[in-house]
């Protein structure tokens, strides 16, 4: 039976008693972790060049390639993207270019 997630379990614990026992991470809790902060280079996707071959979607280690209801590439989830550059490397159409984060001073890209 699925238990209700205790919000204290998901929030930042303030006392040792509140840290989850055995240091477990609860299911899907990684979805709340903004790994996009680690990024130093950012993938910029060009919808004109993209043929939605999904090589990038397949290879992305962070599930950061977004797709629409038809299964076509629709963008990049910068909340998760760590900027590894695999997507740009595997793209057969050069539709993804890695650019320095310094080029986007006012835009973290996150939600």
């Amino acid at each position: 039976m699925k238990k209700e997630m205790n919000s204290a379990e998901m929030a930042r614990p303030k006392k040792w008693q509140d840290v989850p026992m055995a240091g477990v991470a609860f299911g899907a809790s990684a979805e709340a972790v903004e790994t996009g902060q680690w990024r130093s280079i950012r993938p910029v996707w060009d919808s004109e060049k993209c043929i939605s071959c999904l090589l990038c979607w397949n290879q992305c280690p962070d599930r950061a390639i977004l797709t629409d209801e038809n299964g076509k590439v629709s963008g990049i989830d910068l909340f998760f993207c760590k900027g590894c550059g695999i997507c740009a490397h595997v793209c057969p159409k050069d539709a993804i270019e890695m650019k320095p984060e310094a080029d986007f001073p006012s835009d973290s890209g996150s939600r």
């Binding site: 614990p13 040792w16 055995a22 240091g23 991470a25 609860f26 299911g27 899907a28």
Partner: protein
């Protein structure tokens, strides 16, 4: 029906495992604990248990399989000794951290080198700080009873810690003696079914074990383990009383033998306490107020209780079956620390005995008591039975 049979310490432990019928046993044999998985493998082959018996290629793999099975929610047992225990060293703190209630038959044997198959406590003492509960048994009966009791202790919701049930290699593990055993149904109902917290196999409530915990939370999770061990001290007696209600046998944390009015007390663990108790009786007949304090629970260490027993004695000797080369032997260090905290400055002689299976005779215990009576106590540790 309850039975009384002539069996060895290892067979007694294996028989308890048969009755507990754990979900998973992963083991790799090593002398002198080999009999435990060997005997248990027979039970598996003959359909006497439902256990998934995992044969692996090393002790490291054995304990790793135990950890993952326990995290999945299984009731898990295994056994090992000496360098096998040492090879498992990396995984022991992980088992304790994951709060895996594994019950482990640790048959004490000296750590090589030099290679030696006989008893001392250097193997388990190397795992002193791993976060496991340590119980040291005097005889085969106690090893049998402790295996069953330990399941309930380990799985207690306020504890959830793995437990070493230690017995002395060969002296206890291979000696045959009369052991009273419960009937299967009594054991089955005493241990019940494991009700695991946060099991990996609960797919509706998925959890990840083994995730990163950096400087933000590592400390806090360790503090939780400290609390679990405080809870062992708090709840142990009630589990032991429950066991007494089905078996008629009660095992306290500390076995106080004629210590109530004793002037001279020898502190010891495991099988050698039989020798010391015998000598205590002899000395009592001669009017010497001698006593023996056997430490059954070494982790968590019942420090306040130990200080209470020893605090009024005129002199105390602590017998360690392990060295801490360049420092104080482990049991001595604990006892001294307990006395310091209690403000009791009792003259104390540290003695190391029985390394590599060196015999410990009644005459040795006699001499230790004689030195206590004479006030012949030194700061340096003494080596009992050493060629010198």
């Amino acid at each position: 029906m309850p039975r009384r049979e002539i069996i060895s310490g290892n067979w007694a432990f294996a028989e308890a495992m048969r009755q507990i019928n754990p979900d998973v046993v992963a083991a790799y044999p090593i002398t002198p604990s080999t009999d435990i998985p060997m005997k248990f493998a027979e039970f598996v082959a003959n359909g006497k248990v439902d256990t998934n018996f995992v044969t692996v290629e090393s002790e490291h793999s054995a304990i790793t399989a135990c950890v993952t099975a326990a995290a999945a929610g299984a009731r898990v047992m295994t056994a090992s000794s000496a360098n096998g225990v040492a090879l498992m060293h990396e995984i022991f703190p992980i088992a304790a951290f994951f709060r895996n209630p594994i019950v482990f038959g640790l048959v004490n044997r000296s750590l090589g080198a030099p290679i030696n198959i006989h008893c001392d406590h250097s193997d388990s003492m190397g795992e002193r700080d791993a976060g496991w509960v340590h119980l040291y048994c005097e005889d085969a009966q106690e090893a049998y009873d402790s295996a069953i009791l330990a399941v309930r202790l380990a799985e207690h919701k306020d504890i959830l810690s793995p437990v070493f049930v230690c017995q002395d290699g060969f002296i206890t593990s291979h000696s045959f003696e009369a052991v009273s055993m419960l009937d299967d149904e009594t054991v089955k109902s005493f241990v019940g079914e494991r009700d695991a917290d946060l099991p990996l196999l609960d797919v509706d409530n998925p959890v990840t074990y083994g995730s990163f915990a950096m400087s933000e939370y590592y400390f806090e999770i360790k503090r939780q383990q400290v609390e679990a061990h405080r809870n062992v001290l708090k709840h142990y007696d009630s589990v032991a009383r429950d066991y007494e209600s089905v078996s008629g046998r009660f095992y306290p944390k500390l076995d106080k033998y004629r210590t109530d009015d004793a002037d001279f007390i020898v502190v010891v663990m495991s099988s050698a306490s039989g020798v010391v108790k015998d000598v205590v009786d002899e000395l009592r007949e001669k009017g010497v107020k001698a006593g023996c304090l056997r430490i059954r629970m070494f982790r968590p260490f019942p420090a306040a209780d130990v200080a209470e027993v020893l605090g009024k004695a005129k002199a105390v000797a602590v017998l360690d079956r392990a060295l801490s080369i360049g420092g104080t032997a482990p049991l001595s260090a604990e006892v001294k620390s307990a006395l310091y905290d209690a403000g009791a400055h009792v003259p104390l002689q540290s003695c190391v005995y029985g390394l590599g299976g060196r015999d410990f005779f009644p005459q040795h215990a006699m001499e230790i008591f004689a030195d206590l009576q004479k006030g012949n106590i030194r700061a340096e540790e003494r080596y009992i039975g050493l060629l010198e």
